[in-house]
Amino acid sequence: MSQSPPSPLVPTTLGEHDSLSSAPALQGKPKTPLAAGLAIIRAGLSAFWHTVTINGKVMAGSAIIGFFVLVALFGLIFVHQDPLAYTSDLVAAPSAAHWLGTNQAGNDVFIQMLVGTQVTLFWSFVTGLAVLVISATIGLVSGYFGGAVDDVFSVIINVFLVIPSLPLAIVASQYFARTEVTIAVVVALTNWPWGARVIRAQTLSMRSREFVTAARAGGERSWRLIFAEILPNQVSIVAANFVTTTIQVLLAIAGLEFLGFGSTLTVSWGTILYGAYNQGALILGAWWWFVPPGLCIALLGSGLALLNFGIDELADPRLRRERPAKNTNKKAVA
């Protein structure tokens, strides 16, 4: 984690060199900046590689997430077929022509899964990000200002922690148009309290630290203190929170889609499941229709959870496996 700072430098440095080398006068020797840029990229990559491989759980989690991201980005390059195209193969079992069989309308489940991966990943990450922005803002503001502001925000956070998010999301989405956007907005507005609580507690413990007091004495404005001094110092907590939030959001979106709140024109993991349930995949014995989407949700969720547990272990050494060392220590003490 301590080695990650080089990576944010990469784009800015590269950008400067790019603008320099594109100037006509300097076109003669573009090699040095390019080489420097490459070196920085390599340093950044190795720092990234180091962070990813330092812990087995982080590595496994990143590999799973990476796989789905690659499928989402490049999976559709090889496929040129409408996922909602009707064919004459109805409820066909998996074969060479249809790797994951077809559903009752003759749609190819494998192609639906490819498209669904893209849609599901996109909306989960976007919604997760929205949740993070809401919870971080509320948590930071509440924790930083303290006093009456904190009292009010704490009550709001606690009240919404008590109200179960899924039922609230169902209440909210039933009145609006059935689209992915509705689901994303509703899920974002019902899933923020957890993160807000964690970030508030952390901010509260950080607001009277010396570096904050020093910056305040230097005449920094409150919003700068919050977002430029305190926020960067709890990046690890915010990152871990983003990972947990994304699992929650992934499951919430799939759940709402399963209930039929998704758009009928979009194909995502949740809407495939809804179709399977509603069109009697069970009675037809069409396991290839409902097993893949749920399995992918569980796999992606486990990837995120592994990443989260890994980050936890990195942050809290007591959770790490250090049995032999501890035992010798104890003996020495005794």
């Binding site: 609230l168 209440v171 069970l282 949700i297």
Partner: protein, 333 residues
Amino acid sequence: MRHLIRRLTIYLLAVWAAVTLNFFLPRLVPGDPASALFFRLSQHGSVSPNLLNALKIEFGVDTKDPLWVQYFQYLNNLLHGNLGVSTTFFPNTVADVINQNIRWTLTLLTVSVLISFALGTLIGIFMAWRRGSAFDTTLSSLMTFFYSLLYPWLAFVALYFFAFVLGWFPVLGGGYDASQYTPGWDPGFILDAAYHAILPAFTIVLSTIAGWMLTMRNTMITTLSEDYVMMAKAKGLTSRRVMFAYAARNAILPSVTSFALALGGVIGGQLFVEAIFSYPGIGFSLFQGIQNDDFALTQGILLLVILTTVVMNLIADLLYTVLDPRVRQERSA
């Protein structure tokens, strides 16, 4: 006592917020929800024009009363248990539907949550005690997978595998065999109901147990490194006593807190499980309500779910006071 009063205030505010959102959300929607629903219903088949009026009355959009008057009328209705008429189960009122189905839901919920919490916590204790062993590593990675399962999917797969492929359970689900039994205190019916409940309960236990297990394992590991645990071991106490009376007794506190917070999610998950198994609880009614745009029914059920969660939270708080002497004596709150 001060702690409890503060929690109580939060719970009352939560109920008020839920009720208020319930009132204002349909009024926020552009246009008028009654006409929108009437339009959608008329696309499915012919409907009597009287329905539009009925819907308008139900949504409270027929009156010229100012919003705050409508709001207090709505609160008054709620206080008298008047949740409106269900369009799905017409002419039953929402209160009737809930009344008929709530016992199924509560029985299934209580049994499965208790099994899941007790079993999960117990296994978590052993996992922490034997941490690093094959038992711990295998279960840890397996639980990570179960942790992120989608309830309805697990229910779907369980129903497919155990009922459709193996034929151990009825494929159609349901709460009991309606052709043979009528609900009542007759042993045949109770056995049949228990038989129908096995698979749904199994699904709920399987999808919730991971959370308890991992929470307990992690807090237990932290507790095991405390000095008093080492002291207890040094005194020569049996490992069973150290494990349960010293370490687990203290490690269970965070589990109780997360129990309360997770309950909302568990109840939400059970709604799905009931829908898949056509289990005659409020979850199945909710699913039918959503499919039929039966707003009064879904609103009523969701209010009830929120209310149940709040009450369960309160119970967990009381339990917490019993378990943690620090809270009782106001030393930390």
